[in-house]
């Protein structure tokens, strides 16, 4: 008979073992079924739309497969997918970054501000204004994420409360600065906007890059180990803090791209109410949970949420007599339903916990 203690102790899991690679395979099985389901729904809609072109299904199919819906989906998906990818890096490393919303807000404002300072059409050292706007937005978001990282890793703050603080600081700071610089919470329109092709390209590259970084590099392994079993990582001589800093900073960089893309695709920062970001950072969190921490799954989920948003915009234009505010609520409800269905996600073992280095 084995001693009772032995049965109670959980076997230590090595995140680099074949077993966890197997887990990764089943995870992509989940993503595959997700994709198959999405394609199935779209096919059903397409067929019924072709069969009954004059019905609601026909209209809906017309909307879903129209190019304008596709372009606005690409535009709306950029902040969700990019922030979601960032969230994966932070959470995989063991730091739950609930402040993605704040990172999107601050980068959206700073990018528009930088563009207006440089002047659209001008260039600094040969770099065009819009590129500088992107860089400034990324810098602002990365700086805020660095503050968050120090607070969480160095000062052992509660990650959820600190993340909330990041959101609330940005929610106050962006309209504050907008009022200082432009005399109102909304900035004037730059009169120029970044095309959807750029947003789509950035999203695709970021997704592919994130997948490669997470699954094919030593850094990705360290990142997963820092979140799953920091002690093992520490034992092999890799600094858990450094890996976690890298994870959180990456979430800042990616959210910065997303927030800048959001604001520059319109050419303006809107700071009234919940600002123009309107909860996209929180939807991003659900997107990566829905995609089960897989960049491809996050891309799919982000495109789904953005697509819903784009469809409701088109439904308004077609004059369906549903109040637009009610239709705008659909993505939020879908997020709640999705979260309820996939509630039990494989959250990293040590996420949310502070790791004390043993010296």
């Amino acid at each position: 008979m084995p001693p009772p203690a032995a049965t109670g102790v959980k076997p230590m899991r090595n995140p680099l073992s074949p077993a966890s690679l197997l887990e990764g395979a089943s995870e992509s099985g989940y993503v595959r079924s997700l994709m198959a389901g999405t394609v199935g729904v779209l096919a059903l809609l397409g067929v019924s739309g072709l069969a009954f072109p004059d019905s609601v299904a026909g209209d809906l199919a017309g909307i879903v497969f129209s190019t304008s819906t596709a372009t606005s989906t690409a535009r709306l998906a950029a902040p969700i997918v990019l922030a979601g990818l960032g969230g994966i890096f932070a959470e995989k490393s063991g730091v739950i970054n609930i402040g993605l919303e704040g990172l999107l807000i601050i980068s959206a404002f700073v990018s528009v501000y930088a563009a207006s300072v440089v002047g659209v059409g001008n260039a600094v050292l040969g770099v065009p204004a819009l590129a500088i706007a992107f860089l400034a937005g990324i810098a602002a978001s990365t700086f805020l994420s660095a503050v968050f990282a120090v607070v969480c890793i160095e000062f052992k703050a509660d990650q959820i409360i600190a993340g909330l603080a990041v959101w609330l600081i940005a929610l106050g700071l962006a309209p504050f600065l907008s009022t200082v610089f432009f005399g109102g919470v909304n900035t004037p329109n730059l009169g120029v906007s970044v095309g959807w092709q750029y947003s789509a390209t950035m999203v695709v590259f970021a997704t592919a890059g994130s997948w490669w970084l997470l699954n094919k590099t030593a850094f990705g392994k360290h990142l997963r180990a820092a979140g799953e079993n920091p002690k093992a990582l520490d034992t092999v001589g890799v600094s858990v803090s450094k890996v976690r800093y890298a994870g959180v900073l990456l979430s800042g960089v990616l959210s910065g791209v997303g927030g800048s893309a959001l604001a520059l695709s319109i050419g303006q920062f809107v700071g009234s109410g919940e600002t123009m970001v309107q909860g996209k950072g929180f939807i991003a969190i659900v997107a990566y949970l829905f995609g089960n921490y897989n960049p491809l799954g996050t891309l799919g989920a982000g495109a789904l949420f953005a697509g819903l948003d784009a469809i409701q915009i088109r439904l308004q234009q077609l004059g369906y007599a549903i109040p637009d505010t009610l239709v705008q609520t659909i993505p939020y409800v879908v997020v709640i339903v999705v979260l309820t269905l996939v509630g039990r996600t494989q959250i990293p073992e040590a996420a949310g916990e502070h790791y004390e280095t043993e010296e």
Partner: protein, 438 residues
């Protein structure tokens, strides 16, 4: 201290129980951290005002830095003087001979507005605190307040024609309206509670999403069905004057009723008793501290989660009821961020119901002072929203203050009696400082 006298005479043990939370080492430390966080965010806010005052464009400098002669568009000292002095209705005569303004009475407009905010924040702060004690993050107090406020407005408007106008009907309507707000907010809060308990859906995300849903659905309901005729904004009709909390002593334009504040303070006492001294409250606390242990101890964790969120939502809903029956007189679409401020109030209070009172007052001062900043200075009033975020950030990092404490040798961390005593004396000193600031 509280458990040291198992068989002592009743008065002594009662006294010990009342005093215990204030001399408890961790409570004292929390107090120090809260005060330090407020001071630090004021310092950061000072720097922010200074820097943005350097960048902003203005014709004449509002403030010139001593020695350097660099001009700034905003005067950071004036901002805080206006903020804290103005929130109280200028009791201090700044710049004039004499410290106090002789014409000042406590029943002035600005102080009334500050207390009005305080009253509302007591309810939203308690709402967040109750959920926190059960280990749940209720970010959805805002949505629960929106739903509660709408149920209050609609039920009072529906019931008012059935009763003869008068003070008796007013009392009935206030009670019914508040109860309706509690039910509406409670049901809205029960949704994320049930989703958390039975589907493991993270309550942080669901409550945030439900905030958006509540705001949008309530907006559409009022826009399409309940909108007052001829109203330029999306709002219901006004509830009858006699069904609103009466403004005694304070000018009616303050939208403040002492009765509502007294109700808020009664709720603080009741909730403190509930959390600390009832078996349900014990279940709530244990599942917040150690869910698994609570389960072994026979607590139904799932039911406790739903109960805690329902109670939390009900408190948020009562906040909405008070907003309708005291401040606005009707439901309207542009509801202030009271729910989010409730998070700050609760975190600042260490999630202790008693701490909610000073924290809510401090935030009432910030909100009341923000109005004065808008009137008297060029500094954007969003400054207060920044301070709100900074306070949460600093309160969230107690380790930072412990580190500073270790470096400076204040508030020892040894945990011995000496350490506790020094932390305690700091607490009282810090507390006094806080009072002076307010």
């Amino acid at each position: 201290m509280s458990d040291s006298a198992p068989d002592g005479d009743r008065t002594e043990s009662l006294l010990a129980r009342v005093v215990a939370p204030f001399v408890d080492r961790s409570v004292a430390e929390r107090l120090v951290i809260s005060v330090a966080a407020i001071l630090l965010s004021i310092v950061v806010g000072f720097a922010l005002v200074l820097v943005s005052g350097r960048i902003a464009q203005c014709s004449t400098a509002a403030w010139t830095m001593p020695l350097t002669g660099i001009g700034f568009c905003y005067d950071p000292i004036e901002v805080y003087v206006v903020l804290f002095n103005g929130a109280l209705g200028y009791p201090f005569a700044v710049g004039d001979p004499g410290l106090f303004n002789p014409a000042w009475t406590p029943f002035n407009l600005s102080f009334g507005l500050t207390l009005s905010e305080t009253t509302l924040l007591i309810f939203t702060g308690l709402s967040v605190a109750v959920a926190f004690r059960a280990g749940l993050f209720n970010i959805g107090t805002q949505g629960q307040l929106v739903v509660g406020a709408l149920s209050t407005a609609l039920s009072v408007l529906a019931l008012a024609p059935l009763l003869p106008a008068g003070p008796v009907a007013g009392a009935v309507l206030i009670v019914v309206g508040t109860a309706a707000g509690a039910v509406g907010g409670g049901l809205w809060g029960a949704i994320p509670g049930a989703l958390k308990a039975y589907a493991d859906a993270n309550e942080v995300i669901t409550t945030i999403m439900l905030n958006f849903v509540a705001a949008n659905v309530a907006y559409v309901l009022v826009l399409e069905v309940f909108r007052a005729e001829g109203s330029s904004v999306v709002a219901t009709r006004y509830v009858p004057e006699y069904a609103q909390f009466p403004s005694v002593l304070f000018p009616p334009s303050t939208d403040f009723a002492l009765l509502a504040l007294a109700g808020g303070i009664a709720f603080i006492g009741a909730l403190y008793y509930f959390v600390e001294h009832t078996s349900l409250g014990y279940d709530l606390r244990t599942s917040g501290v150690q869910a698994a242990a609570a389960e072994y101890g026979g607590v139904n964790a799932k039911l406790t989660t739903v109960r805690a969120m329902t109670l939390s939502g009900a408190l948020g809903g009562i906040g909405g009821a008070v907003w309708v029956l005291m401040s606005e007189g009707r439901w309207m679409a542009s509801i202030p961020d009271l729910g989010f401020d409730g998070i700050t109030v609760s975190i600042l209070a260490g999630n202790n119901p008693i701490g909610v009172l000073p924290a809510a007052f401090l935030f009432g001062v910030l909100k009341g002072g923000a109005l004065e900043i808008g009137f008297r200075t060029d500094v954007p009033t969003e400054l207060v929203a920044v301070l709100r975020g900074l306070i949460i950030l600093f309160v969230a990092m107690p380790e930072f203050f412990r580190m500073i404490g270790r470096y400076t040798g204040v508030g020892g961390t040894a945990g011995g009696p000496g350490g506790a005593a020094s932390a305690e004396s700091d607490a009282s000193a810090g507390g006094d400082g806080g009072e002076a600031d307010a």
